[in-house]
Amino acid sequence: MTTCRQRAALLLLAATAGSAWAQAPGPNNAITDVPGISVGHYTGADAGTTVVIGSSTAGQGVGGGVTQRGGSPITRETDLMRPDNMVETMNAIVLGGGSAFGVSAASGVMRCLEGKGVGFPVGGPNVVPIVPTVTTFDRATCGGPPASRPDFNAGVQACMAAAGGAVAEGNVGAGTGAVAGGVKGGIGTASVVLPNGIIVGAIVAVNSEGTPYNSDGDLRGASFGIGNEFSVLTKAGGKANKVPASLPGGPLRSGTNAVVATNVALTKSQATKIAEMADDGISRAIDPAHTAGDSDTLFVLGTARVALANFGDEASVVTQIGSAAGDVVSRAIVHAVLAAQSTSCQQSYCDVFRSACKNGR
């Protein structure tokens, strides 16, 4: 009979072995590889919003957690996610542009979900959809204030567009007006299937004050790639290129916001711990991260297709998911930067570091 510690050690060994040999991205290499997760974008002229819907097998909410480490958060319903508070399940997460105005998209998502009968039950047929939200300021606006910002209708449209399958990346949704350091930012997503069947996915809107590339022009998160995931990168770096300076930082100016999802059932406390570990993936792919001017907020959803106890003792499984989530977040950030396209006033990574990307991309 093995002790807990022995089982934990075996699990760790399995996880380590898995990371070397057996782990692979899911079929879409997207957060939608997690059953129960759908994603919808609303893309405006220079700002947008992205909704991630988490659905149990019954079509209702799923356990969730959040970590909020950036110094300039514009958030909604994060108090509710604290483990000491009552509501245990979330219906959707909104990542948005539009700064303090963009929070209104969450109301549109609520209306959309209410129309489907999705939400916290409050008697009879009535529901209150639980839609935690974070927004950031869109910096890729060519020197002027944003010409568009996501509103109530943007939230409705993003929710109506939500689907499984492939997820559009780059200058879409919450990444529309995003800037990553000195290059165009955007939406990125990634997933991993662990040898034991745990699936972890992430979607990130990269609008960071810090840079996703180092002083040699290499993407910080590229080393976390699985297989030939980042074969577009030459690994020749950008030494020959002029590394652009990050845009000036300041309160409320930036933020990298993310959602991580897994097919494992999570309590709020477990999801919160996983969020904290997943957030390390931002730190590894962007430097500096979590600045005073960043909104950096990361949510976790567990869609409860499998029980956590199936995989071992609680601490080990939470650690395994959190560790995997950190890597997935870093990879999603790389995807965001590679998918982002130059605008009239903000060049993309591959346009700035031409020698780093094959075919200019």
Binding site: S72, N85, V122
Partner: protein, 356 residues
């Protein structure tokens, strides 16, 4: 006597001047309202459906900006921009707090306050000429009471409340965020109160009480926090008997409040004042901070008085002002009797104790 002794001990520990010692009753400002704090404006918007159903939004505006803190102790909150108020975050100044009915749907009212303030040029400059009015918010649960479940505040409620904001007298009772509120078996509502401290610091509170717990002894009508009432508040004896909370309401409640002062506080101090002010909620309502309560208290400091603040004095006064605002809310609330919609009021149940 015991209270005074305890306060003197606290003041001694804090090294505070004796002249700051907490005394009861408090001396209200001229309006006995949160608007006695210079720089604070309040606007209500209320909707009625003609069948006894009411809901609404209250905007508390600090046009010149206020250092803000928050405490969130109820178990079922609906909030916006509260993370921003953590002491370690970069932004210390906000421009308004929106209190609203409508459960989480009512968070939309804050959108209207935000755009209203933007149109007036009120906000934090970000970059590229953009400003962001920073509007924190908390909501209470009132949907479906003598109304369709979709009868709820939207962005237009916030815009209207913002447009109606003034620094004058503040209406209480069945109005704004308190329009559809109920409290421990009677009608809840909006209440406000203020206190002027001996050193010139002004502290005010406004509350929308929608509590599962009761504020008064169900038999005698005595307010639990009656001993805190001021000479211009209703005064009733303070016989304290545990109430029997209405179990049906235990999961559909929330008391949300804002306290304000003209003292100059850091963000950390504003958070501390919010925490102490929350004790006023606990003294006036039993039970408070339950699992179904969204109880959230914001603190705003406009900073006109720049001398070093006595946090215990301000926090203690804010707690008492909040207790008084709660008692005033309950007494100001009107019963509703429209068709099959019947909600008793405190004054209906205890007419001899009712003072408005």
């Amino acid at each position: 006597m015991r209270l005074h002794t305890a306060l003197c001990v606290v003041a001694g520990i804090a090294g505070a001047s004796a002249s700051f010692a907490q005394t009861l009753p408090q001396t209200p400002g001229p309006l006995n309202a949160i608007t006695d704090v210079p720089g604070i404006e309040v606007g209500h918007y209320t909707a009625t459906n003609g069948a006894g159903g009411m809901t609404g939004t209250t905007a508390i505006i600090a046009r010149g900006g206020a250092t803000a803190g928050v405490t969130q102790r109820g178990g079922a909150p609906g909030t916006r921009l509260t993370d921003l108020l953590n002491s370690q975050k970069a932004v210390g100044t906000i421009h308004a707090v929106t209190l609203s009915g409508g459960s989480a749907y009512g968070l939309a009212a804050s959108d209207g306050v935000t755009t209203c303030l933007e149109a007036q040029g009120v906000g934090t400059p970000i970059a590229n000429g953009a400003i962001a009015p920073l509007v924190a918010s908390a909501i209470l649960f009132d949907p479906g009471r003598c109304a369709d479940f979709t009868f709820r505040p939207d962005a237009s409620f916030g815009a209207n409340a913002c447009a109606a904001a003034t620094s004058g007298p503040v209406k209480m009772g069945n109005i704004g965020a308190g329009a559809g509120a109920r409290s421990g078996g009677v009608k809840g509502g909006i209440g406000t109160a203020s206190a002027v401290l001996p050193n010139g610091v002004v502290v005010g509170a406004i509350v929308a009480i929608n509590s599962s717990g009761r504020t008064f002894d169900a038999t005698t009508g005595a307010f639990f926090a009656g001993y805190i009432a001021s000479s211009s508040d209703p005064i009733v004896s303070a016989v304290q008997v545990d109430p029997a909370a209405d179990s049906q309401e235990l999961l559909r409640a929330t008391t949300i409040a804002v306290v304000a002062t003209n003292a100059k506080l850091t963000k950390a101090q504003a958070n501390k004042v919010a925490q102490m002010a929350d004790d006023g909620l606990a003294r006036a309502i039993r039970i408070a901070h339950g699992t179904g309560d969204g109880d959230t208290v914001f603190a705003l400091a406009t900073g006109a008085i720049t001398s070093a603040p006595n946090i215990n004095s301000i926090g203690g006064a804010a707690a008492d002002a909040l207790s008084r605002a709660i008692m005033r809310a309950i007494q100001a609330a009107d019963a509703i009797h429209v068709g099959s919609c019947n909600v008793a009021s405190y004054c209906e149940q205890f007419p001899s104790l009712c003072k408005r």
